[in-house]
Symmetry: C2
Subunit: 840 residues, 2 copies
């Protein structure tokens, strides 16, 4: 390296860093709708480093599985088969792990005098490989050739060994370099699809499948994606080949941690003995939960064919095989029992248990980004994939890459901070989170952040803030004296919209209009402490956006309702000067006036709204003009304004804050759900300086005496900080339209309009990550309609879309990073199913 | 390996695993009250594996720091000094990294003609080392000798290099093996203390300190503790020496992840070039946040003195040094600004901001187990340690080993599950958590688990459950019809104890008696929907346990009050047949009777109590006999019983559930706080089958329609499952008394009694992890008393104990795993300070 000044060098480094971008930050997207057989064990063979003997281990397992003495073999009816896959092979054909397994098993079979059918094949390769094998083949666009090399020895009725190399490169270097140099790349999703296809062994019993990785656990695959990320969607259990040398304890533990940090399970650690008793600290670290097995030293003489070593190692491999089988059986047994067990111990929210038979319970083995991996016990056991279109109940954000990043962040935060009590303290995640909030969703109005645990608590806090501010501003009106008892006759209420929802704790419930959810048998203490107005709504039906005014509006107003050409028109601020705006304003004034005349002691002390969309109330889009008028009317009366952005905030509706859609600012706003990227509970209530000041004084009793032990917990704050940054950065969220600062349109307009014109569809609402449709009641009873919704949902689940009805409303929800292509696919499936359904 | 059957082998393995227990599962306890200087940068030099050139990197950094041309050197007034520490050295004296740095800097100083004062010393060693160096020394108990070898070359006024090896062993193997073989061990805390002492460089400026680790990041230290765990309490920033070879990407990434997973920050990754451009995938993985620097290939010729290589590498080391300095400066700048920034953006709960000057804000850099690492800006910048005696506001549980384990578990859970919506679904963490709860705190009575996010929401849910059960059981009494409107006249209330606290959301507040926290200006909707009874309390004063009856009790009852010989006596069930029990029973009956006569429509629909200790109410211990009587009286009247164990549950009071202390079971119980080991929010409401059944029916509207988006979030459930198992297992929690199934006594009885006899102390309550004392008001005003408390707390913070008053109550809270020795030390300091305080 030529001598350059340090500053220059740093500049160069920075420059360089911008230039070089590989795939490894993005975890590979899974192939759509995969189906992994679970009727036999499948293991990934990982290694802490290169050259630690992964293939020796695969060979040993294969031998102990296939070459059993008849006495211990299973009944003859059960064919025995081992499938060995090497998806990625470099240094080929000099190095061919599948050939190694093939040839060693051949030798061992001869030596033990146990017949074996064996085969080895290499499916695709780079051109240099094909050339070196003297084959002239057609090269595909990606630079890959269909090599289709194979060799085999068949013995009828004997146990079978199938060895397959899926992709081979010539250079003995890391796959991402080989792929680059040999101009032969392969996409992650193609590798996965290929692995999935090859793993399919039908319903044969006594099958074992091994998938051997290349290099170390975090070595890049051909696209540059780290292998531990590449294979993550399948989340196959693993065997980790550790390092028995000096320094090998560290490498083995770190590799193990990299696997765990990606959600993998490791069934056993196995390594070659180098006389350093590395198994002692490894066992200690693993707390004896994962067995550690030690293989005898491998002969260093290159002429040694290792057959003696395999014989010597037989006991260890038998033990390893037993561990693999028992871990597999335990997993399947557990998965089989979970639905029943869940029905016996859980008390699910919003669920009438009597109506949930065991078959209806979904057993979820894991999630990878937007997709669930679901266990299907029916038919052949398998793990299938479903897109989580409930976006895990409106909280979920991460794509696979972001989930992996968050996992690292959360591990780090737990280790660095654990939890730290908040009052009068400061620690990095809480401060950073607060700064990002005030510079983002609170920009231009908020100056304080109050942390709590969920939307409902954030709302309770916002009400306490608003009422205090109101009381301070209206001291004379309320004739508040120092004597708390005298204040009892003052009745402070909220102004809210019918159909809005703010949470399930009593204070949040009181701010909602009466509904079946607030009945006496649900919460006998509920009274409904508010003035509840009927809002005008907008929606798409028959291919156009419509406005619908509530019946309470004067007859004359109905002339103003009608259709909009585009959604943007609805949000256009020019509507502020329309006749409709005047009608809205008059209607609000009148109702406020009536209310205050009807009671001397009741005062409207706060306005609370869900901006733009009423979520739990049925995915209704409220006319934003009406909400803006409402805010202005309240502001004129010094009534504090609360935006409940628990559902709507953080990109759910395509913008970071819906205040931007509405075109006006609140005094107080609540956020939760997507705030942490959909990982763990955290909520914030943001407030202006003026609201904060109404709690300032010389006495602690004047302070806001509300809090939760986990206020501003480090884990939540760190995740939130990460999510806020990730979602709004065009580098990490490809959906961000940098110029407008909004999400690009995720739902195909053409499909949306088609669906809205469907005869079974009453209305459609589409905004940001949300697509919702309400099914028509038609002439059916409400019960029948919800059954109708239910069977539609069942069909969608068959298509790999996990949905759950909200009454008569069917919705699809993506994460803020989900690609429009995926959304398109969801919508197309929905349209198709609606069509079929209609015919039925 | 001799051929054994697989089964036998597995047995042997299992057996072996039980025998071998090393230190590495336990993270080392930090030396008490450390103080790390922050007036100059200090870095740990880590490596992804052995032999990757850690010492070359240390040497290069030293050269670029010390051997600057005068033009670029700082003003003469600033002395320049580099301290190189090698705490653990094996293979000595053949391998001596401190000697290598020393001798290379000597050569480089000569070559560059820049004078340098250099020294190298080796402080302690094993006997074989001492013998090989022909020294006869006294061997300490641990087998260590004070070697005190040193060599130096002094040049007055020149920059200084101090190289020190702290502990040396002869064998060139892992330190834990060398320590064992050479019978020379050293405890983790001793290593840390030694490192801390050596790092102290006074107030000199322009100092850089390097601490070079041995082997890989997770290589065991001499005690067997992994080095990344060993050094964790200091959490020094690190430089990671990566691996440029084939497979090195994986090893480097995994090592990096192991460091992050322990809460470390890594300032830069540096590695030797092997022509494989490993920096590209590494940069991509690190998302360009951590610089990756590449060193030229190291000459392989053993006769090469590497001087030319150092010259060639100068630019890279200068860049590395600059990164180290700028990362350090950014950190200190951030730490310096945090207190002010916090005061401007946070809205702390329960805090009158006007009374919190910037100086009172505690800046917390991290936590390690029970200890905070606190940044002190006053005087010399430093990081000091304080025991978190608020147990992070009553939630905190982990010791350092458990925190590390939880961090791994949370990283895994985030990666495997993220968050999954709960209704009608099942996934492993939620199921496992529910099973452990029903088999633990719910054993013998509960059959259903309802998840929510915090204590307050768990209470709201419990009230909804209890009221429904009550309504179903008393249908006739309440004359409930199907018409919900008609039910409005029925007024369902709670029975609760004065001074109990159940949360800050409105529903939970309504179950509490009026207090300054429930006033109109805090929550104008609060009315206090209950019958609130005054409870008898017990406490220690003047060396004895006393019973105090409320004034509302009849005169005759006071004869029954008095003292107890032991705390066990208070919990003795034989008291059930005492006169006092009869008095209690009569009192409760009478008050219930009076209440029901006073109102036709009001019905007591639930009993809610905090068993044994009223936490937020002032750490009052309620006579358990009274609570037991109360429960029985309610049961006789078919009033559902709720135990609010949010504060008291999960070992806070020395038992997993306080139902065991009380000797009776509830119908419903709430848990939160320690449930997750004090990591993240999660709450559960447990219920009996009978309660669950009262929500069963054919209509969804009869179901419990309360829920939160993060209900049963995987992260919380996984953490809780881990914590439940960890705290109750004597293998992991050494405080568990296996026979009794309780925690052993943590607080020294003698000290407790002394404190209770102190003239400034009104009363003491001690149970489980809790020690609390109330200061006497004396003749002082309440304001004065709280100042008194405050200055006591300031003194305790100087002693390394972080406390925060609860009004006039000073408490110390440990985790369930905190050793009695630590608790003893805390108590002794408190007693000492009380004494001093009194004299003042």
């Amino acid at each position: 390296m030529s001598p350059v000044t340090a500053t220059l060098l740093r500049h160069r480094l920075r420059h360089l860093r911008h230039q070089i971008r590989l795939n490894s930050t993005s975890v590979s997207p899974p192939p759509p709708h995969f189906n992994l057989p679970l009727n036999h064990p499948t293991y990934l063979i990982w290694s802490a480093n290169t050259s630690l003997g992964k293939t020796l281990v695969s060979t040993g397992i294969a031998a102990s599985f296939l070459l059993q003495q008849p006495s211990s073999s299973p009944p003859a009816a059960h064919s025995t088969k081992l499938l060995y896959l090497k998806p990625i092979q470099t240094g080929f054909p000099t190095d061919s792990d599948s050939r190694f397994v093939f040839s060693k098993l051949d030798s061992l079979s001869l030596r033990r005098r146990i017949p074996l059918s064996i085969s080895n094949s290499v499916l695709r390769s780079s051109l240099p490989v094909a050339e070196s094998m003297r084959r002239s083949l057609k090269v595909s666009e990606s630079g890959m050739c269909d090599l289709n090399f194979s060799e085999e020895k068949t013995v009828t009725g004997a146990p079978e060994l199938l060895c397959k190399t899926l992709y081979a490169w010539d250079a003995a270097i890391s796959p991402h370099l080989a792929a680059e140099r040999e101009h032969a790349t392969v996409e992650d999703s193609v590798v996965l699809k290929m692995v999935e296809q090859e793993m399919e062994c039908g319903s044969q019993t006594n099958v074992l499948c091994l998938v051997e990785t290349a290099g170390g656990v975090a070595s890049p695959g051909p696209s540059g994606t780290l292998q531990c990320d590449l294979y993550r969607p399948f989340r196959l259990p693993g065997i980790l080949v550790g390092d028995g040398r000096l320094g090998g304890i560290s490498g083995t533990i770190s590799a193990y941690e990299s696997l765990k940090l990606r959600g993998y399970d490791v069934a056993a650690v196995v390594f070659e003995d180098h006389g350093l008793v590395n198994e002692v600290p490894l066992n200690s670290y693993l707390r004896n939960k994962v067995p550690v097995l030690v293989l005898p030293p491998v002969p260093k003489d290159p002429s040694d064919d290792l057959i003696e070593w395999f014989v010597e190692s037989d006991g260890v491999f038998k033990a390893l095989k037993e561990v693999m089988v028992s871990v597999y059986l335990e997993r399947v047994e557990r998965l089989n029992g979970m639905a029943k067990q869940a029905g016996e111990v859980f008390w699910w929210p919003f669920t009438q248990h009597k109506l949930v038979p065991e078959d209806n319970v979904t057993v979820i083995d894991s999630r990878c980004g937007e997709n669930f991996s679901i266990y299907k016990a029916s038919g052949d056991n398998s793990i299938t994939q479903q897109f989580d279109a409930c976006a895990s109940w409106w909280t979920q954000g991460p794509d696979p890459a972001f989930q992996a990043e968050l996992a690292r962040e959360m591990g780090y935060t737990a280790a660095r901070f654990g939890h730290i009590m908040f009052p009068e303290n400061v620690y990095e995640p809480a401060l950073k989170c607060a700064e990002l909030l005030l510079d983002g969703v609170g920009k231009g109005w908020a100056s304080r952040v109050y942390f709590s645990d969920n939307g409902s608590t954030a709302i309770e806090i916002s009400l306490k803030m608003a009422f205090r501010k109101f009381c301070v501003d209206h001291e004379t009106l309320l004739s508040l004296s120092e004597d708390a008892e005298e204040k009892k006759h003052v009745d402070v209420k909220v102004l809210a919209l019918r159909g809005s929802y703010h949470g399930d704790t009593l204070g949040a419930m009181e701010a909602q209009a009466p509904s079946p959810y607030t009945g006496f048998l649900q919460q006998p203490w509920y009274t409904g402490r508010g003035l509840f107005l009927d809002p005008p709504t907008v929606f798409i039906s028959n291919g156009a956006w419509n406005l619908s005014l509530p019946e309470s509006f004067p007859q004359t107003a109905s002339e103003e309702s009608g259709t909009f050409t585009t959604r943007d028109e609805i949000f256009d601020k020019s509507r502020d000067t329309s006749t409709l705006a005047t009608i809205y304003s008059a209607s609000v004034s009148e109702q406020l006036q009536e209310y205050s005349e009807s009671s001397q002691s009741a005062h409207v002390g706060a306005l609370i709204i869900e901006p733009v969309i009423h979520g739990a109330g049925g995915m209704h889009m409220v006319d934003p003009l009406f909400q803006r008028v409402l805010v202005n009317e309240c502001r004129n009366r010094k009534i504090p304004v609360i935006f409940d952005e628990v559902f709507t905030g953080f990109w759910r509706l395509g913008v970071e804050t819906t205040a931007d859609l509405l075109g006006c600012k609140p005094d107080i706003a609540c956020f939760a759900k997507l705030l942490t990227g959909g990982m763990i509970p955290l909520a914030v209530t943001l407030a202006t300086d003026a609201v904060f000041d109404s709690f300032s004084g010389d006495s602690k009793l004047k302070a806001l005496l509300h809090g939760h032990s986990y206020s501003a917990h480090a884990m939540g704050c760190a995740t939130a900080a990460k999510a806020i940054e990730w979602f709004k950065d065009p580098e990490t969220n490809h959906n961000i339209d940098s110029q407008r600062g909004t999400l690009r349109e995720l739902w195909d307009e053409e499909l949306v309009l088609q669906i809205s014109s469907h005869c079974a569809v009453e209305r459609v609402v589409v905004l940001g990550t949300l697509f919702a449709l309400e099914l028509k009641f038609l002439m059916l009873s409400s019960l029948y309609a919800s059954l109708y919704a239910k069977s539609l949902l069942e069909m969608l689940r068959e298509d790999g879309i996990f949905t759950r009805p909200l009454g008569n409303v069917v919705y699809l929800m993506s994460g803020p990073c989900t690609s429009p292509e995926i959304c398109h696919r969801l919508l197309a499936k929905l349209l198709k199913r609606l069509g079929e359904f209609n015919r039925a």
